[in-house]
């Protein structure tokens, strides 16, 4: 048995941030903290695979795929019939893949779950998944890592419902461990539930902490509930992670703004899902993170440009002939002006979301790389403070 995760370096300051590596057979090692790029049916939304390869780079790129996107078509039956695993089917060959049960952008309300099944949205509607269905799919699809079925709570519930959720989720976990045996240790992420009831979350984490799994995934966190009071998230993560073995990776779903990411990482989160970047696209927002490696930039007369997030729909951009960030080396910024992006928005052209996704994913790849570097240099705490202040002075709600 080999633990796929190794801690390279821990922050010595006040935060619990840590730097690690996640290795999977026949894949490039992923350095953590890392973001798992959100995909729709294995595709980074709006980006064809050649763009992903040439414009996002292979560096530390891992994909988050969702069960519901594949369970109807091709489904286990189709994959078997075509004699393909999910990597071959979706042409993902070189990218590490993490299979989650729920689509972070469109999770299933928990009242559809019952004792033995978890519901997901497939391309036609709701589908009940039993542990055995999931086992067969995972064995045929062969993702590098996969998440356990969980009765994930999507809104506030009673103590009784939370207990039920935890009992079911632990049962699913034990069933899957029984079905996957040794593989659980290398590939299976336990799903941590409990909704917003912190004591329930702690109790679930304690229950499953010694199970033979590869890692832990915190589900059912809604970023909005914590954005007003970040301390609540800190407290929750501290207590939940406190129950978990230190040498296993922790994934946090559905938390994605720069400020919350730093908070999550400061408490020992290793992986985050990238659904937030897809949400930004819907709002026509381009990130403008002031990276350390950039030279100091003079404030421009465009107030928008000085913000950490830029809304392309702003009329200020109609004639603004500069890129989103003149120092951003991404394809979008090296080839296009804000005026062009604004024009694409006004004319409703398909390329705007493409160009925004390229830019925003590049920003986050760089952001995470900078975070890892700060952890190594033991300067993470200061870095976090700096970005925190920036986010506070330019509050953006999406």
């Amino acid at each position: 048995m080999t633990n796929p995760f190794a801690i390279v370096c821990e922050n010595v300051g006040s935060s619990l941030a840590r730097r690690g590596t996640l290795s999977m057979p026949n894949r490039k090692t992923i350095e953590t903290p890392a973001i798992l790029i959100y995909t729709n049916a294995g595709a980074v939304p709006h980006l064809t695979r050649d763009i992903v390869q040439s414009m996002l780079g292979y560096e530390n790129l891992a994909l988050n795929i969702s069960l519901g996107h594949f369970i109807k078509f091709p489904g286990t039956y189709g994959l078997k019939k075509m004699e393909q695993n999910i990597q071959e089917f979706a042409g993902l060959n070189e990218f590490p893949t993490y299979l989650s049960v729920q689509d972070s952008l469109n999770p299933m309300p928990h009242h559809f779950n019952d004792k033995s099944t978890v519901s997901v949205w497939d391309s036609a509607g709701r589908r009940r998944i039993e542990v055995q269905d999931y086992e067969l799919f995972v064995k045929q699809a062969a993702p590098d890592l996969f998440e356990c079925l969980g009765d994930t709570l999507q809104s506030s519930v009673s103590n009784k419902r939370a207990d039920k959720s935890i009992n079911r989720s632990v049962q699913h976990l034990d069933n899957l461990i029984g079905l996957f045996g040794e593989d659980s240790n290398r590939k299976l992420f336990a799903s941590l539930e409990g909704g917003d009831l912190i004591d329930k979350r702690v109790s679930m984490a304690r229950t499953v902490s010694q199970r033979p799994v590869a890692g832990f995934a915190v589900n059912g966190i809604r970023e909005d509930s914590y954005s007003d009071d970040v301390a609540l998230l800190t407290n929750l993560l501290k207590r939940v992670y406190g129950e978990l073995p230190v040498d296993k990776p922790r994934l946090l779903h559905s938390v994605g703004s720069p400020r919350m990411i730093l908070e999550a990482i400061a408490n020992g989160t290793d992986l985050l899902d990238g659904s937030y970047l897809t949400k930004l696209k819907y709002k026509n927002i381009a990130l403008n993170i002031p990276f350390e490696i950039y030279h100091h930039q003079e404030a421009t007369e465009h107030s928008q440009i000085n913000s950490i997030m830029i809304n392309i729909s702003n009329v200020e951009f109609k004639e603004y002939l500069q890129p989103i960030s003149s120092q951003c080396p991404c394809y979008t910024c090296s080839k296009y002006t804000c005026a062009y992006l604004h024009h694409l928005l006004i004319t409703k052209e398909m390329l705007l979301p493409t160009l925004l996704m390229i830019h925003n994913i590049n920003q986050y790849q760089r952001f995470f790389s900078e975070i890892r570097e700060q952890i190594t240099k033991q300067t993470f705490d200061n870095y976090k403070k700096k970005i925190d202040n920036l986010c506070k002075s330019n509050p953006v709600t999406i």
Binding site: G42, A43, T48, P74, G78, K81, M82, E319, I346, M350
Partner: protein, 355 residues
Amino acid sequence: MPVGTQGSLKGILPEQLESLDCKLMLGNTYHLGNRPGIKVLESVGGLHKFMNWNNGLLTDSGGYQMVSLVKMSKVSEEGVEFRSPHDDSLMLLTPEMSINIQSKIGADVIMQLDDVVSSLTTGPRVEEAMLRSIRWLDRCISAHKRKDQHLFGIIQGGLDLDLRRKCIKQMTQRNLPGYAIGGLSGGEEKDQFWRVVSLCTELLPANKPRYLMGVGYPLDIVVATALGVDMFDCVYPTRIARNGTALVPWGTINLKRQSLCYDKQPIYPDCCCYTCKHFTRAYLYTLLSMDEVSALSYISIHNVAYLLSLMQNARTAISNGKFPQFAETFVKTLFPDLDYPVWVVNALNSVGIIL
């Protein structure tokens, strides 16, 4: 030529289009003049830079919008008056303005402003439009200052062969670098369509490019190539792609068809495009079932690659003296039951290709 009306080809990045060996794409003067407007295009240094496209550009003059936006336009000797669909303001597009806007857009080939009527129009309006197009051509020539841009005239005259003759006679006297055949592809009978094309290619100078505007389907393109047309443009390949439809030699396949959900073949096994080299019909089906937009890009890439390679094959066949065989094989593959449309048989017959 793929069509990027508003300064962007739907679903394909310029670099992707370049890698398909696309040398020329189309933009539209009327739409670009509206948005982003001349001021932006001028200050950025032209459309090539604005949209990051280094190969050739051709801009249509805006004349066609008289037909496509007919409810919002009014034509007079001075020019066309459009009511903006965006802010309801009035915009007068004169031949001089069209050339001026096109000089700011900076395309490599620019088109005259013509008076376009639907090909279904009959009566004196057709002749009036044809004669006005000649007068407007002269105004365009006088306004045309940027000699690095090739100005093409546009032959009008509807489906009336005599009017087409008159127009060609007048316009060819202006000795332009190229001529377009306009006013077709508007729902006319195919039998009339090919006869007009045939007449025009017969009368237009052999040493100047002939551009058949707004055509079209692969079959129309191959037949018109046989008749002597050199250039085509159409939104067809990218438009049907956005509906999930892909071009193949035997016609089209719709990738939303459930029978393809486990189909391990690429769209077209002999195709060398990126999509066909990497993805199966089954995967494209899954992407479409999840409303994933990149599926439309994959199909657009295939469709544009398909048409570009169709034209490459036509050019190779012409160079090797084998165009008749090429055309015959193409038509036979499209109609395996040999039920050829009459107009195709007649059109190809007229140039000695016997099906």
